[in-house]
């Protein structure tokens, strides 16, 4: 069974139709990249999958592990193993990173009928993950994302992913705004989480990230539809010829 099956998905925001019939199947272990120009609907797709409520699905269906994903609340989707790394991670003054992450992990564990993890068990595991993302532990006693640099925020997203160990990770433009060093650290973190039972959807505007996170499939999203799909070589072609050419090719086909 596929992990994720999107069929003819239509979605709108404030009466503006953004997704106009998306079809996509993702199997465990696969890494799919979704590329497209600004406004093509990439982020909307990511947000719909993470169950953001101000995106209204008007047609189509999404099956996750055979279940109707669109009937789930965001916290339920998370508990079922979906994780979205935010394009713009949110700052939450007054809640420390450690507290937030442990609360999140325990909420997931509770949903799955597991015992809550106390600080003694949590910390050693957490420190391992911090090392992976080359993050300073001091940062973790500060409020969530508050005063973090752009790179620190993105690394923090991948850190959360490493702690929460999702089945389906959606990275929404995790590369944008990163310098090459930060990009390498983020990619290293992501690659270390690749596994036969975990799938990823990497949403990006630029091909650059895909030099470091090599996808199995590349899809071109334009104007709310996937217009082309292929292997990693498609990303290179896009980089060279641009999205306009990709659209023309699609129309010819």
């Amino acid at each position: 069974m596929s992990l994720l099956e999107i069929k003819n998905l239509h979605a709108k925001v404030e009466n503006h139709e953004i997704l106009k019939g998306i079809d996509l199947t993702v199997n465990p272990g696969e890494v799919h990249s979704i590329m497209g120009p600004n406004g093509s609907g990439k982020s909307t797709l990511a947000q719909v999958l993470a169950r953001r409520e101000n995106y209204e699905v008007t047609a189509g269906e999404v099956l996750y592990n055979g279940k109707d994903l669109l009937s789930l609340k965001p916290e339920e989707a998370a508990a079922e193993g979906i994780f979205m790394a935010f394009q713009y991670p949110v700052e939450i003054p007054g809640i420390s990173n450690v507290y937030f992450l442990r609360s999140a992990l325990n909420a997931l564990r509770k949903y799955r009928g597991l015992e809550e993890m106390d600080a003694m068990d949590f910390l050693p595991m957490f420190r391992e993950k911090l090392k992976l993302l080359e993050m300073d532990e001091k940062l973790m006693n500060r409020s969530v994302n508050e005063g973090f640099s752009g790179g620190e925020k993105k690394r923090n997203e991948i850190l959360q992913m490493a702690v929460l160990e999702p089945k389906l990770a959606i990275l929404d433009e995790t590369d944008s705004g990163l310098d090459i060093d930060a990009l390498k650290i983020v990619a290293k973190g992501v690659n270390s989480l690749r596994s036969p039972d975990r799938a990823m959807i990497v949403v990006t505007h630029y091909q650059r990230l895909l030099n470091y996170i090599v996808p199995d499939f590349v899809h071109v999203l334009m104007n709310g539809r996937i217009v082309r799909s292929g292997g990693p070589e498609l990303a290179l072609e896009l980089e060279e010829k641009g999205y306009v050419d990709a659209e023309r090719q699609a129309q010819l086909a």
Binding site: F86, P89, V90, I92, F100, S103, L108
Partner: protein
């Protein structure tokens, strides 16, 4: 006019009743002060919303209720009833029932040398000089009718005295219990806190009510911080929703004195919280920190008057409000910089979260600056729980109610973080946590979808 006369008559009657009792008030200076105060109250009566200081708070419910002075008979409380309200881990606990000291419910323990904590009425004879030097010297009975009323009717309250250079490590906890009755009861606790030069102390005033009768607690505290004294004052309001509470904290600060006033308003129906520091000595510093959380039909009014009377003084005001249901919050922040108070640095911030369409906040800065070399800033925000933050937490698996609670707690934490006394902060954190859980639970989920932040912001530099 007729009802106003009737009101006054009932207070006059109560006042002359009181005159016959309580011998300690026969000291001539104190008698005169009380008579002046009553005359002043009789002259001005209760304020109305035409009065600028009372624009957002209508006290006619207090004016129209025929309150009786609580008698000793109407004030019996058992230790068991009180137990759930006490703060654990604090050794010195003074309990006042309807404004009167209740020794059988109190535990003063062994206080360090140089620290006095007890009933004002009892200590009047032991510390006559010290009390006369301060009691009634700071509270402005001409400006404020409730202060006049308190002075006229004051029978008892707490007297705390810290001798020069003495550091009172443990906080001093004052628990004020209102017991309702069939008849509406009023009490006027009067507290005097004197921290001499270079001394240090933390004092907590905690207001609770035991049963559901209508009660009006009109309390006033004069806090005198001598040169270089360091004092933390905590005011906690957690009475029931039928309670009226007017509290006035008048702070007098000497040279380089450092005072922190923390207010946490959770309970009460109609609450007015006056904080009035006067930075009288050069280089004094004042922190005015507050959190008010209202739901139902609560009305929580915070009136700050910060007077800079000397050069090089700093004041910081931070008030956070969370309002749900039909609750109405008020933040009135007045800063007066006198003409000699050069190099004043005064800052004021009021942040508010409105959790329902019917909740209301009035926030008003008022700066009066008569010096020319000063820094005064003020700012206020009114917003809702941010949809972005809520979604972020939920997308990590935290359910909606918990996520809301976490965000409210984070907002409240800004105030808690400013409290230095660990045991008090921990206790208040527990109280706030419990209180917020009820608030977070009561918010219908549907509201979240419309969570567009409609923040109204203003920031000015004067």
């Amino acid at each position: 006019m007729n009802t106003a006369t009737q009101q006054l008559e009932s207070y006059l009657e109560a006042f002359s009743e009181l005159e016959k009792l309580a011998a300690w008030r026969d000291l001539p200076w104190w008698r005169k002060l009380r008579e002046d105060a009553f005359a002043r109250f009789a002259e001005v009566g209760f304020p109305t919303t035409h009065d600028e200081d009372w624009r957002f708070t209508n006290v006619s419910a207090i004016a129209q209720t025929p309150f009786q002075l609580a008698t000793k008979e109407s004030s019996s409380v058992s230790p068991e009833e009180l137990e759930p309200w006490r703060v654990p881990d604090i050794r010195c606990q003074l309990v006042f029932v309807n404004g009167r000291f209740a020794p059988e419910l109190s535990q003063i323990g062994k206080l360090p040398a140089g620290v006095t904590a007890g009933s004002l009425a009892d200590e009047f004879s032991n510390h006559a000089q010290a009390i006369e030097a301060h009691l009634g010297r700071y509270l402005d009975i001409r400006r404020d009718a409730f202060s006049a009323l308190n002075t006229a009717f004051a029978e008892d309250g707490a007297y705390v005295h810290i001798r020069k250079g003495v550091v009172a490590e443990d906080p001093i906890y004052l628990l004020f219990v209102s017991t309702g009755n069939k008849e509406p009861l009023m009490s006027h606790p009067r507290n005097l806190i004197v921290a001499e030069a270079e001394s240090q102390a933390s004092i907590i005033e905690d207001y609770v009510s035991l049963n559901s009768g209508t009660a009006f607690c009109n309390t006033a505290t004069e806090l005198v911080a001598g040169d270089s004294a360091v004092v933390s004052h905590y005011m906690v309001e957690r009475e029931h929703p039928q309670a009226f509470n007017v509290s006035t904290l008048r702070i007098q600060q000497g040279r380089s004195a450092n005072v922190a006033s923390h207010s946490v308003l959770l309970g009460g129906g109609l609450v007015r919280n006056n904080v009035h520091p006067v930075l009288a000595g050069e280089g004094a510093e004042c922190l005015i920190n507050g959190l008010f959380i209202g739901s139902g039909r609560q009305h929580l009014d915070n009136y700050m008057l910060v007077e800079h009377a000397s050069p090089h003084c700093d004041s910081r005001q931070f008030y956070n409000g969370i309002l749900d249901g039909h609750a109405h919050g008020v933040f009135h922040g007045r800063i007066v910089v006198h003409k000699d108070a050069q190099k004043t640095d005064a800052k004021q911030t009021n942040r508010n979260l409105l959790l329902s369409d019917d909740a209301q906040i009035d926030t008003k800065p008022q700066l009066e600056i008569y010096a020319d070399d000063v820094k005064c800033t003020h700012g206020a925000t009114i917003g809702q729980i941010e949809e972005n933050a809520l979604f972020y937490l939920r997308s990590r698996g935290i359910d909606e109610v918990s996520a809301r609670k976490l965000l409210l707690l984070a907002f409240a934490n800004e105030c808690l973080d400013r409290m230095k006394q660990d045991s008090v902060r921990t206790h208040l954190e527990t109280l706030i946590n419990r209180h917020l859980f009820q608030v977070a639970n009561s918010v219908p989920a549907a509201r979240v979808d419309r969570g567009e932040e409609q923040a109204r912001k203003w920031e000015e530099l004067g």
